[in-house]
Structure formats: structure tokens, C-alpha cells
């Protein structure tokens, strides 16, 4: 089917590289691997550019393929929880600490310790601001599963955060009282 939208590859890279890289980074916890996945995703898009019909379709396609390639990469590497944790400390944690909010950095770090399915829906919900319906379409998963993973993931992350951030919250409240 002919369509009017004629995207420039370089322009699409400029526009979406941050999204693709961030999704891959938060799914894998490895900057090098995330960069590699992002390159592969864009090269794949270059081969399928003729079939992409609109800017919205490009964004949807990039999100879907990035999540899929990240899951493939994790499966290939069979990263165990401990390995991932250590890796995040080495690669991801350091960068996260450069951010202004220590609470944000801690949350981002804790997110990477969640099960993959829960991590995926939380990243799409809170990084990409997608609705559960959009997440279901992106991950090609049933809506009920997405909603369940969202609830469970949020609950688990909150529990982890409350456990590890007591000191931070106490300080925050103390500052507020002042």
C-alpha cells in the first residue's frame, strides 16, 4: 500500500535514539549491550523502512522491536540475578548516581532487580507513559497479564524501595520539617 510518509533514516535516529537506548538499557542493565541492541534495532528498521507508514507507526515499531531484542539478548546471556545485580552495580549504577535525585537513582537501580516481565511493563508505563492497552499491543501480550504485571511489579518495587530507602525518606521528612 502506498503512503505519503517518507522518513529520513538519520532523522529517525536523532529523534528516537534516546528512547531506544533507554528501553534497552533498563531492560538489560548493560550500557554496552544496550548500545548494541539500539544499533541492531535501527539497522533492522532501515531494512523495513518502506513498510513503516507514519511517525506513530515508527515509534510503535521501535518500542516493540527494542523490547523484543532486549528480551532475546537477556535470554541469550542467561543472566542470573546475581550476575545482573553485579553488572548493574558496575555499568548502570554508576551512571544512575550521576543523576540529581538519589531516590530516583535508587528506584532505577531497584527496577532492574525485578522479574523481566514486570520490569518491561513498568519501563513502558513510566518511561514511555503508555497505557496498559498500548503496553499490551507493544509486548503482544494479553491485557490482563499486562495489568497484573503492572500491579505486581509496582507492589514489589514499592516494597523493595520502602525497605531500602527508610533512611532516605527519614532525611527527606526531616528536611521538610525544617
Amino acid at each position: 500500500m502506498a503512503h505519503e510518509w517518507q522518513p529520513q533514516f538519520e532523522q529517525l535516529v536523532d529523534e528516537h535514539q534516546s528512547m531506544v537506548f533507554s528501553l534497552a538499557l533498563r531492560m538489560t542493565g548493560d550500557r554496552g549491550l544496550a548500545e548494541e541492541i539500539a544499533q541492531d534495532v535501527f539497522l533492522e528498521m532501515d531494512r523495513h523502512l518502506g513498510r513503516i507508514e507514519s511517525a506513530e507507526h515508527a515509534r510503535f515499531w521501535l518500542r516493540r522491536v527494542t523490547m523484543s531484542r532486549s528480551a532475546d539478548a537477556l535470554r541469550r546471556r542467561r543472566v542470573r540475578f546475581f550476575d545482573l545485580f553485579v553488572e548493574i552495580e558496575e555499568h548502570h549504577g554508576a551512571a544512575a548516581e550521576e543523576r540529581s535525585s538519589p531516590l530516583g537513582a535508587r528506584l532505577e537501580h531497584l527496577l532492574t532487580t525485578l522479574p523481566e516481565a514486570q520490569r518491561a511493563v513498568l519501563v513502558l508505563r513510566y518511561q514511555e507513559d503508555l497505557t496498559p492497552e498500548e503496553i499490551a499491543a507493544t509486548l503482544e501480550a494479553p491485557l490482563a497479564t499486562v495489568k497484573s504485571n503492572l500491579q505486581r511489579g509496582l507492589k514489589l518495587l514499592r516494597a523493595k524501595a520502602e525497605g531500602s530507602l527508610k533512611e532516605f525518606i527519614r532525611k527527606k521528612e526531616w528536611v521538610r520539617e525544617l
Binding site: 537506548f21 548500545e35 539500539a38 544499533q39 528506584l107 509496582l154
Partner: protein, 110 residues
Amino acid sequence: MSFEPTEEFEQELQQALERRPAPPSLKRRLMERRGRGREPRRWPVAWERLAASLALFAVLAGAAAWDLHEREQRRQGEAARQQVLTALRITGHALDQMNDQLAARGRGEE
């Protein structure tokens, strides 16, 4: 200690998960890889063409030899079959003659 209300926690999470800028090397490496993928295909050099031709010739010659061998086998088989049929025909003819002679002798004795 807990986050109250839930929206506060979700807001914190949303802020924590802001998109990260991609490393500058990403686009550069990507464009390099894309450029490499679009380079015109290199034509094979003379020795590669010669080796490919020899391999092709060897395959074709082998196939032809095998076909010839198969045909010869079939021809020999057919000749043997014809010989057996001829022998059977001769034997049948001799038996018929003998049968006729025996029948004639029987009639004479009567």
C-alpha cells in the same frame, strides 16, 4: 516507613525513568555499520573465479560420469534380460516339438 499516597511513588518512579540521552558513539557507529552494509558487493578476484569454475566443472563431470555408468548398467541388464527371454523361447519351442512328436507316436501305435 512508606510512600503516601501511591501517586507520590509513581511520580518518583516516572522521574527516575526519564529517558537517558544516548551515548554520542551510538549514532556514529550506527551510521558506520549502515555505510558498510551499503557498500557495493566486491566482485571475486581471478583465483576465486578459477576455483569456483573448477569446483563447478568437477561437480558436473562427476554427475556426467555417474549418469554414464548408470546407463551402461541399465543397458547390460536389458541385454541379459533379452538373452534369458530368448533362451526361454527356444526351450519352449523345443518342448512343443517334443510334445508333438510324442503325440504323433502315440497315434501311430494305436
